[in-house]
């Protein structure tokens, strides 16, 4: 199941690169993502929505959350093409996908903290 949401190769690279900072990276990503989601929901115009989608896409891809990054990219492109039909649905799917990613990284955090 996790493989659909998380790229394991990216994950192992992150662990190697971050060394002792891995735990902090996980926490930062989880906090940062909450902020991004809020920005998505509270965006007042297309520009704000596009910028939030763009940033969330970047950090998701860095964290190996490939599904989430893919959905954010779809949103970013829809906003740019100004085809706002079905945007609500797309944001909902992002929420759903993030729950999976959040669950995975919280588990990862607990596992690391316990080590």
């Amino acid at each position: 199941m996790a493989d659909m949401h998380i790229d394991q190769k990216v994950l192992s690279d992150l662990r190697e690169v971050m060394e002792d900072g891995y735990l902090q990276l996980l926490e930062t990503f989880l906090e940062d993502s909450e902020r991004r989601l809020n920005q998505l929901h509270e965006a007042k115009d297309a520009d704000e929505l596009g910028l939030a989608a763009h940033s969330f896409k970047g950090s998701s891809s860095n964290m190996g959350a490939v599904g989430l990054a893919e959905l954010c990219q779809q949103l970013e492109e829809r906003v740019r093409q100004q085809s706002l039909y079905g945007i609500e649905d797309l944001i909902n799917r992002i929420d759903q996908e993030y729950l999976e990613v959040q669950r995975f990284y919280r588990g990862e955090r607990q596992r690391i903290a316990a080590e």
Binding site: L14, V17, T28, F29, L51, S55, G58, S59, S61, M63
Partner: protein, 563 residues
């Protein structure tokens, strides 16, 4: 993986997780990292920390990456501070904006440590290259500045030496391209104590400072010996010997040296390696070509050097036109030379001497030749004797130690007659007498005239009647050289007597030769006009010194100066 040389890298990225990750990747490569959350912070941190490399997110709040990049590039000035844009911008337009804002490269998310390390190394190479180029550019600029300054100083020093002469005299017109000095062209002029004028147009081999350096000792010899009253021959010998001694083998100096005698209305000249000079009538027709007959100065050792000069009549108003080889050797696009023919056409077409140089330069420009910067032109006009402004001579001593009661005599015999000119020594000796100093020019003229009369007519037996015209002049001086070259028998004696007289005193000069003498009576009845050039200098001596007598059948000349 650590870098060769740690850099300070600025990371500007608004996503906290991305920033953390990127900073860690860069740090692991051995660099120091400073981080910013937006463009404004990035610019401020750049100004404060001066990082060598910047990683910049394109889309950031407060100030975006594009604006931050422009400001950072402006702050960096000439130094290259590479900016790598961090972006997942996919569309072309966004990438173009990054480049236009001053970005040097891109890096897409997700970040790859390997690719980022390679990019940082590549950018660091570029940065160093630019720094080296700037450093070398500044070094070249400093050297260039230094060189120009040296040339300016050298030119200033040389101008002082070269312009202490009389190039500004009313009968000299000259044109030298501004930096002709550094192409080895040299033009010097100075009055002799007797009021003659020496002119030298020279051209050193080579260019630049080495050529100018050789000009300094040459000018020194020229001015020094001219001021002391030495003639062309002695001056030439000294110049040649000095240049031969100091110049490297492949360096020498083509030169045309001349002595303009306003009193005698003659010109004595020596041309070693310069282009033909021209003797022009007052109307500008070419009367005679004055070609090079010698090797340049500084080539032959003193014992092989040929100091034979030529003497020509030059009436008041007649002119000499001299030039350096930059004129005739100017080539057009097909390397065809301007040449002597074209120069002669310009001379023939000239109606007003005042515009001759302009006409020559116009002809050169019209010829389509590449303009050369080593062109020297010189036009010298013979003046009537009374038009020559006498030179004020400055003496450094008070003259209180003047010896006033003495006599001396000496005699020159055999080979010494051809090799040694006693006049400068005698004039210098007589300058010790304060009362005679205002007359030193006259003294020099009179002594020179009496000595050369005694030598040429008395000892060598030359016929002054030969000197009726230009051909006769040439023949006269040919015979003179020939006879001096053979074994010389005979002598010239010079006696000086100085006596105090009241507040002043008097000087009696006696010049005696071993020759056959001449008909003194005939001289006293002939008019100066009839005497012309063949008057044995008698009229000249009489004009300069009030009391002149020829005794003992013309073998003894006696002149008295009073003060």
């Amino acid at each position: 993986m650590s870098a060769d040389q740690p850099l300070t890298v600025l990371v500007a990225e608004d996503g906290a997780a991305d920033r953390l990750l990127l900073a860690q990747i860069v740090r692991r490569q051995g660099h120091e990292v400073v981080t910013a959350e937006n463009g404004e912070q990035a610019v401020a941190l750049f100004a404060e920390r001066r990082p060598q490399l910047v990683l910049l997110d394109a889309l950031m709040p407060v100030m975006d990456g594009f604006e931050a990049a422009r400001r950072i590039k402006a702050l960096a000035g000439e130094a290259l501070v590479p900016i790598i844009f961090l972006t997942s911008l996919n569309e072309e337009e966004g990438l173009v904006r990054c480049l236009e804002a001053g970005g040097d490269d891109f890096m897409a998310k997700p970040y790859s440590a390997v690719i980022l390390a390679a990019k940082i190394r590549a950018m660091d190479r570029l940065r160093r290259l630019q720094a080296t180029v700037l450093e070398q550019r500044d070094q070249i600029a400093r050297h260039h500045h230094h060189l120009l300054n040296e040339q300016r100083v050298a030119k200033a020093v040389f101008d002082k030496v070269a312009h202490s002469g009389c190039l500004g005299a009313s009968n000299i017109r000259y044109l030298q391209s501004p930096y002709a000095l550094f192409n080895g062209d040299l033009l010097l002029a100075a009055f002799t104590p007797s009021g003659d004028m020496h002119v030298l147009l020279g051209d050193f081999t080579g260019h630049g400072l080495p050529a100018a350096v050789g000009a300094m000792p040459l000018a020194e010899v020229f001015y020094g010996m001219t001021a002391k009253g030495y003639g062309l021959v002695e001056t030439l010998r000294e110049m040649n010997a000095k240049l031969k001694r100091i110049l490297p083998v492949d360096m020498f100096c083509c030169a045309l040296l001349l002595n303009l005698s306003f009193q005698r209305e003659t010109v004595e000249l020596w041309n070693g390696g310069m282009p033909d000079g021209y003797r022009l009538s007052a109307q500008g027709e070419v009367l005679e070509v004055l070609p090079s007959r010698h090797l340049p100065l500084g080539i032959l050792p003193p014992e092989q050097f040929d100091d034979t000069t030529e003497v020509r009549p030059l009436a008041a108003g007649e002119r000499l036109f001299l030039l350096s080889d930059g004129v005739v050797d100017t080539g057009d696009a097909r390397e065809c030379l301007f040449g002597v023919e074209r120069l002669l056409e310009v001379l023939a077409a000239n109606r007003d001497p005042a515009v001759l140089f302009d006409e020559v330069m116009q002809a050169l420009a019209g010829f389509g030749g590449q303009s050369r910067d080593d062109i020297s032109l010189c036009d010298i006009r013979m003046l009537p004797p009374d038009h020559v402004v006498p030179q004020a001579v400055v003496y450094s001593d008070s003259g209180r130690s003047s010896p006033l009661d003495w006599s001396m005599q000496f005699e020159l015999r055999g080979e010494s007659l051809g090799r040694f000119n006693p006049v400068p020594y005698l004039v210098q000796l007589l300058q010790e007498i304060h009362g005679l100093r205002p007359s030193s020019g006259k003294l020099h003229s009179v002594l020179s005239e009496l000595y050369s009369n005694a030598l040429e007519h008395g000892v060598l037996g030359l016929d002054s009647a030969l000197k009726r015209d230009a051909e006769g002049f040439a023949e006269y001086y040919r015979q003179r050289a020939e006879r001096l070259g053979r074994q010389v028998h005979g002598s010239v004696g010079i006696a000086l007597r100085v006596e105090p007289q009241g507040a002043g005193g008097r000087l009696i000069i006696e010049v005696r030769d071993s020759g056959a003498g001449f008909d003194v009576e005939r001289l006293s009845v002939a008019t100066p006009v009839e005497q012309g050039f063949s008057g044995r200098g008698v009229s000249l001596v009489r004009r300069l010194a009030g009391n002149a007598q020829w005794l003992e059948g013309g073998r003894l000349a006696r002149v008295e100066f009073q003060w």
